[in-house]
């Protein structure tokens, strides 16, 4: 099966007055048709930049694709003209964003905002597009779509707005939905509903999803594969179960440990000490080495090569190197 999205060795940099920021440094991952993949990592790790590069939404200048390929349905989006990209955005690939409060135009009715893409990509007349928009509102579980259609975003609650955003993104039935932190700005109870909704819509419409999040807690409910990013590189990638239960990379371990747990026992929140490296001049070795409690001498000097530890489960960590086996047992034990 040909992947719907295949990112190959993508490198993106931003030119600033202080110098070049290497935001994405050789990222590769694939998404198969109908599959949901999570891209996880803390703020500034390049997960959003990667996704926005796929959409061609990186402001340029200062943003710049240094190298790599983005194959969507076999075609390299990086070679597309702006006009061609307009035909892809909203039509082939839909995108929703973190803050539904600010992501909708406050002076336009929700119905028109949903209908806009339909009018553009399917050349529907206004009334038919609005009719479709109503169907979309119904599909994303907004009650009284007739009335809601003519309301403005401020008349919607946060969760409702994110539903409206999803309706907008899916109006043209794209093959791929990129959800950039779709639940981060929402209440926990609403987060669950939105993830549920996305899972149902994925089954119903059969599109692929790239879910970008820093919260491993929301991943399991939706995605079958996880890509863990740090400082513009992929640390670990694999099927959800592998990542959760056969964690290889100390960074992934740290992320999993920092997911708040519910239960009787009240433990203090776990966090990973330190801060991500400065991407003006990334360290020569593994970017996580300075924060890693298992760092060895080699970690600070050489970038670890990616290894496949089991089918589909890739890790870039010196601990998985055959020569580090004794150390790894120490870590696991």
């Amino acid at each position: 099966m040909r992947p719907i999205l295949e990112i190959k060795n993508l490198q993106v940099a931003f030119d600033t007055y202080a110098g070049e920021v290497k935001a994405v440094r050789g990222v590769s991952y694939t998404v198969n048709p109908g599959e949901a993949v999570a891209v996880v990592g803390e703020s500034g790790c390049g997960k959003s930049v990667t996704a926005q590069t796929v959409m061609g939404l990186i402001p340029s200048p200062p943003g710049r694709v240094v190298a790599g390929q983005i194959l969507f349905d076999g075609q390299d989006l990086l070679n597309f003209t702006e006009r061609q990209m307009q035909g892809v955005r909203g039509n082939q690939i839909g995108m929703i964003f973190q803050d539904p409060m600010t992501s909708l135009n406050p002076t336009m009715t929700v119905g028109r905002q949903i209908a806009e893409g339909l009018r553009k990509h399917q050349s529907l007349p206004a009334d038919q597009a609005l009719e479709q928009a109503k169907e979309m509102l119904k599909m994303v579980g907004i009650p009284h779509p007739d009335r809601r259609l003519n309301q403005y975003p401020h008349e919607f609650s946060g969760g409702m707005r994110q539903r409206a955003m999803i309706a907008t993104a899916l109006a043209c039935r794209p093959k791929l939905l990129i959800a950039d932190e779709p639940t981060t700005a929402l209440d926990v109870t609403i987060q669950d509903q939105i993830i549920d909704l996305m899972r149902n819509l994925q089954r119903q419409l059969g599109m692929a999803i790239v879910l970008i999040t820093h919260d491993l807690g929301v991943v399991a409910g939706l995605c079958s594969r996880v890509v863990v990013m740090y400082a513009g590189q992929i640390m670990e990638a694999g099927p959800v179960r592998e990542i959760y239960y056969r964690t290889q990379h100390p960074y992934t371990r740290g992320l999993l440990a920092s997911v708040p747990k519910t239960g009787k026992e009240r433990k203090p929140l776990v966090s990973i000490p330190g801060t991500p490296p400065d991407l003006f001049s990334p360290p020569p070795g593994c970017p996580f080495a300075p924060r890693c409690s298992h760092a060895m001498k080699v970690c600070g000097q050489l970038v670890p090569q990616e290894q496949e530890v089991s089918p589909g489960h890739r890790v870039a960590c010196w601990l998985t190197h055959p020569l580090a086996q004794y150390r790894k047992q120490e870590v696991a034990g």
Binding site: M55, L57, M85, Q86, G87, V88, R89, G90, N91, G94, M95, F97, D99, T102, S103, L104, N105, P106, T107, M108, T109, Q113, E116, G117, K120, H121, Y152, H154, M165, T168, A169
Partner: protein, 313 residues
């Protein structure tokens, strides 16, 4: 509809209050200035002085003059001018306001069209030559006072090029130079406003959403950005229109235009009490009305603003 009429009623009451305060303060301030309309260097016989004062009720106690004035004001009778014989203040306003309003309308239209267009062009070409050019022009327009602008325009277009007449009022071509002189500053302000608003709006999340829908840049600017960027300009427009419509003293006197502006200043030095009050009252009513219009325009442009929200405060 009910919300609208209730709102208008509340606004009307507060407008009447505002005008009342303006009248009261102006009235007593005006009488606090030493001298009077008939004080002159030439000695007037005391009997004559007395007769004149009696005719204009200036010998009445101040509170009675005040009450009489309010009483006449309710019937929109602004009284006779002290300076211009056999002329009432109503006549002065009726005669000169249309002139100021015509000139003002031309100036405001120019400021709006040119200001908004250059602001939009500057924002869409951020940090390119169009942007720099527009902002240099705006800085000049902002910094050069209207009387210098008037002189320069006169020198170039009336004296050197002889394209437009230098002064007086009557034909459309006579409106061009004074309107330009009057529009200079507001054009600059609107251009700067428009540019910074549009730049800010283009950074908003909903613009990114619009791009993610695959809309073209033109559609995004036209459909999503402009309306949101125009909101702050509407606020500025209310006082601007009121100020320009009621006349700019300087520009009107340079171009010898018989507008309302000249009465603003001359009436004070003349101590022409009724004209001072009349023009001030007229201006404040106009200002209040413009502000009301602005607020109504807001409701029309920005769906987030509701009329009855004033009740909460």
């Amino acid at each position: 509809m009910k919300a609208l009429s209730g709102y208008l009623l509340r606004r009307l009451i507060s407008a009447v209050m505002a005008v009342f305060f303006v009248v009261t303060i102006t009235f007593f301030l005006m009488h606090a200035i030493p001298g009077g309309p008939f004080a002159s260097e030439k000695e007037i016989p005391p009997e004559v002085q007395k007769n004149i004062e009696a005719r204009y009720h200036l010998n009445d106690p101040l509170w009675k003059q005040y009450v009489d004035y309010l009483h006449n004001l309710i019937r929109w009778d602004l009284g006779p001018s002290f300076k211009y014989e056999a002329t009432t203040v109503n006549e002065i306003i009726n005669r000169s306001f249309p002139v100021s309003a015509t000139l003002g309308a031309v100036a405001v239209s120019f400021a709006l069209i040119v200001g908004m267009l250059s602001g939009i062009i500057a924002a869409l070409n951020h940090n390119k030559w169009q942007d720099y050019l527009a902002m240099i022009m705006a800085t000049i327009g902002f910094a050069v006072p209207s009387f210098i602008m008037a002189g320069v325009l006169m020198y170039i277009f009336a004296y050197k090029l002889r394209w437009f007449p230098a002064a007086l009022w009557g034909s459309p071509s006579q409106a061009v130079l004074p309107a330009l002189a009057l529009a200079g500053m507001p054009t600059a302000v609107i251009a700067r406003f428009m540019r910074s608003n549009l730049l800010e709006v283009m950074q908003q999340d909903y613009i990114r959403t619009a791009r993610a829908k695959g809309l073209s840049r033109q559609v995004i600017v036209y459909r999503h950005a402009l309306r949101n960027a125009c909101l702050p300009i509407i606020t500025y427009l209310g006082p601007l229109v009121a100020g320009i419509f009621t006349g700019s003293f300087v520009v009107e006197s340079i171009f010898a235009i018989p507008g309302l502006g000249q009465y603003f200043v001359s009436s004070i030095s003349n101590r022409d009490y009724t004209v001072i009050l009349g023009v001030t009252v007229f201006y404040s009513i106009f200002l209040v009305a413009m502000n009301l219009l602005v607020d109504l325009a807001y409701v029309w442009v920005d769906p987030r603003i509701k009329l009855n929200e004033g009740r909460k405060a």
